[in-house]
Amino acid sequence: MFTVDLLLNAVFAGLMLGAFYAAVALGLSIAFGQLDIVNIAHPTFVIMGSFVAYILNENFGIDPVLIGVVFVPVFYFIGTNLYRFYYVSFERTSQESLSGLAFFFGLMFIIEVLLILTFGVDYRLVSAPYIGKTLHIGVLDLPYRMLVPAIAASIMTGAVVLYMSKTFMGKAILAVSQDSLALQLMGANPLKVKRVAMGIAIASAALAGALLIIIQPVEPSVGRLYIGRIFAIVVLGGMGSISGTFLAAILIGVVESFIATFYGPSWAPAVGFSILLLTLALRPQGIFGRA
């Protein structure tokens, strides 16, 4: 059945879903796209953010988005130190390709097991006054459970884009992804720049986790379901392009929503990945990647 109401709602549901995907993929775009760090453990940091939001929401009733924002510095600190360890152990000795990958695999399992040992394996959810309510605008029904994370994700992405384009450190991060040696010759310390970038990547992942638990129940292994999708978004957007990642996420979200509404939800991931394959065939550097 095709109606204008359904079409509009499918598009807006896709926009909201896509904005959330962008939040999850943002950190990976920085780590993988700009720093060449294949952080397979990225979704695990998302889940850590979810559990922090769960604990404080469950015990003190604090809004999950607020918790996510408040914990940004903590996860930033974790991210900078994670890079420090990664650099000393792998990058300095040029072992980052295989050993680094194995390290992040191991880290993913260790964090997952620690979460299981600490919190158990039951599904965790959060409460907030807006969850379960819907904003009605004409024919549009926008559940706040999707709308709030979408707005928060868009603000977060916008803030990172502004930071990257307007600040010295932001520009240095973009520069280090292109030519680390040239950056060094300009008097900047590439290691410090990468530490800051990794801090931003992990902090954004944790904030995305706070948004995730608003949308769906979370248990320690749920992050695995996102690995394929977010890597696809980062590649589709053009490795390292923040705005490209956001637009690619929106594209995947809208396509998934459209297919789920009008054709069959089981086809949604297949169509999303077909777009990725088609893009790579026609434009190997991704939609916004540099040739």
Partner: protein, 419 residues
């Protein structure tokens, strides 16, 4: 002959006699080797919540039996490995259990997807296989030593949803159309396949029949498409993440239908029930045990008391209504059969289980030829008067009213769901 006590042969004889005397002096349970029961279990991964809860229940049975002296005079010992909710790990685990650990008996992991991969190995060894919540696994194998504890019934795929459709067709006005939705994984697909057959048999018009990917983060668009199809009945087969998303989306988008629910996994778990709260009201869904007076079988309250004490601080379902009583019972049945037969002869144990009605904490259990319950007792319950933010309410009667089957019915349906 042996003139001195220090003669080597005399010393050997004396030592042997002392050793024999010591051996006979030991208690019987130390003389006999422990009786090993082996299994894989989902202790991590998406089904770990249920797997860990099942393990607590199984350990309660082990402790109960060992306090009584064990089975066949031997203490029970569990040998188990985490299958990480990954079906590919299951064959390797059972091979190790049988060939390296040399277990005496085996039981299954939790869930259809984890049980099927073990079947070829178990069948090759000719072992009795007590199975924990596999839907229609034996349809493919026809193994005569397979016994399944979930009360699905002798035609599991159809019996699973039989009650839902019986209730629907008894209502006035009768429903005319149905929407079917399944999460793309084995159990949910099987449950919805049965519902599809019932719908066709009853002449219901199927206006929506789709699957959605396992673990989809958002199902709002799917619910919107279902609402657009304007079905009287909505039957869903889903896992916890999907179930929560669909219930929330149904409330957010103001779903109107005569009946909504069916085979949604997750709505049986206390944590999810608490979070969804009043959004659950009116949903008709399957369940296996709820704290209604009609299901107060001998021993079940004592068992749940032990489970709830054991579950504290373990991050599993705090009440344990859904799976744990059945995890206890499938070992109860195996233990009773071994005791009755008096040996580990698998053929005799299987024959005994086939012909016996067992008294368990989930009531009387007897098995059909295919190893499923001889008669279905898949409950259809309706959530009623659920309040917000109160987990304790789900541990008491009155919130999940049993509508089907009649033998354990505790109330009548409120129909329609929402109009």
């Amino acid at each position: 002959m042996f003139k001195s006590l220090t003669h080597p042969l005399r010393m050997f004889v004396v030592t042997a006699m002392i050793a024999a005397a010591m051996l006979f002096a030991l208690p019987a349970n130390v003389q006999a080797k422990n009786l090993k029961i082996g299994f894989s279990m989902a202790l991590t991964g998406p089904l770990a919540g249920a797997g860990k809860a099942a393990l607590i229940a199984m350990k309660i049975w082990k402790d109960d039996i060992n306090k009584k002296g064990g089975l066949l005079g031997r203490k029970i010992e569990f040998v188990y490995y985490d299958d990480a909710t990954s079906p590919s790990k299951v064959p390797g685990i059972y091979s190790k259990l049988l060939n390296v650990d040399k277990v005496d008996l085996v039981v299954s992991s939790y869930g259809t997807n984890e049980i099927s991969p073990a079947m070829p190995i178990i069948m090759r060894k000719g072992l009795v296989f007590m199975s924990l919540f596999g839907l229609a696994v034996n349809d493919k194998f026809n193994y005569d030593r397979y016994f399944q504890i979930m009360p699905a019934g002798p035609i599991p795929k159809d019996d699973w949803s039989r009650g839902y459709f019986k209730l629907a067709m008894e209502q006035n006005p009768k429903p005319k159309s149905i929407a079917l939705l399944s999460e793309d994984a084995d159990f949910a697909l099987s449950a919805v396949a049965g519902a599809r057959r019932h719908a066709k048999r009853l002449g219901l018009k199927i206006v929506y029949d789709k699957t959605f990917p396992f673990g989809s983060p958002d199902v709002t668009s799917v619910m919107r498409a279902i609402i657009a199809a304007k079905a009287d009945l909505i039957y869903i087969g889903s896992y916890p993440g999907g179930s929560v998303g669909l219930v929330k989306a149904a409330n957010e988008l103001d779903l109107k239908a005569k009946m909504f629910g069916g085979g949604m996994v997750g709505l049986q778990f206390a944590g999810i029930q608490k979070n969804l709260g009043p959004m659950l009201n009116g949903i008709v869904n399957y369940d296996f045990w709820v704290p209604e007076p009609t299901l107060n079988f001998p021993g079940v309250k004592e068992f749940l008391k032990k489970y709830q004490a054991g579950a504290k601080g373990k991050g599993v379902d705090p009440f344990g209504h859904y799976l744990p009583p059945f995890a206890y019972s499938y070992l109860q049945i195996l233990g009773d059969a071994v005791t009755a037969v008096g040996s580990l002869d698998q053929k005799k144990i299987a024959a005994y289980i086939h012909k016996t009605t067992f008294k368990t904490v989930v009531g009387n259990v007897s098995f059909a030829k295919n190893g499923e319950w001889a008669k279905t007792r898949t409950l259809q319950i309706q959530f009623r008067d659920v309040k917000a933010n109160d987990i304790a309410q789900f541990n008491k009667p009155g919130k999940r009213i049993v509508l089907y089957p009649d033998s354990v019915k505790s109330g009548s349906i409120v129909y329609p769901y929402k109009q």
